[in-house]
Symmetry: C2
């Protein structure tokens, strides 16, 4: 899934940015309290999806990403490695891209 690029925001860069910005506060808060914040943002995402503008929706998605990066930082998870392991070789269910799983089933 990786590719050479000139300036794209990698998952690793996102984690580093969030670490620099919030790392001390995040470590002090811990994972359970962080999950509360992530959940609050997730709720705001639902609102924006239901009735927000494109810009509001985009910014709520950015917030969910940022808080997910925060949680990954606190728990020592590398999001790029995780995504590569789960999705790097095709759909985790059928192994293909495009996926050929039954749409009713969870991939």
């Amino acid at each position: 899934m990786g590719e050479p690029n000139e300036g794209g925001v990698t998952l690793r860069a996102l984690q580093r940015t969030i670490e620099a910005m919030y790392g001390a506060k995040d470590a002090a808060r811990g994972d359970a309290a962080t999950f509360l914040w992530l959940t609050e943002e997730f709720g705001e995402l639902a609102t924006a999806l239901r009735s927000g503008s494109q810009e509001e929706l985009a910014l709520e998605m950015a917030d969910v990403l940022a808080w997910l990066a925060t949680l990954a930082n606190i728990r020592g998870i590398d999001l790029e490695d995780a995504v590569n392991r789960k999705y790097g070789l095709g759909c985790p269910g059928c192994g293909k891209s495009p996926c050929t799983c039954d749409p009713a089933e969870k991939p």
Copy 2:
């Protein structure tokens, strides 16, 4: 936030990978039904955070990322642009990195 890299997973690459893998199914399902799947994964993330192994936690984070990318694809949102707009110039609250906002306040 962007930086030159050799093979990192950018948010744009993630969206493209998910689009190739699931785009047709995602478009057919639509945003509300997709949000149900995202929510299911979010619940699994809570479980993994509470009692899972590091590997389980990493894979659930990957799933949340994948379903968020799916939702962004369906709604025509570019996650990189969104993240750059919200967090590209420092904390959205105080403008700094490290952030100097009151920890009790939402950034």
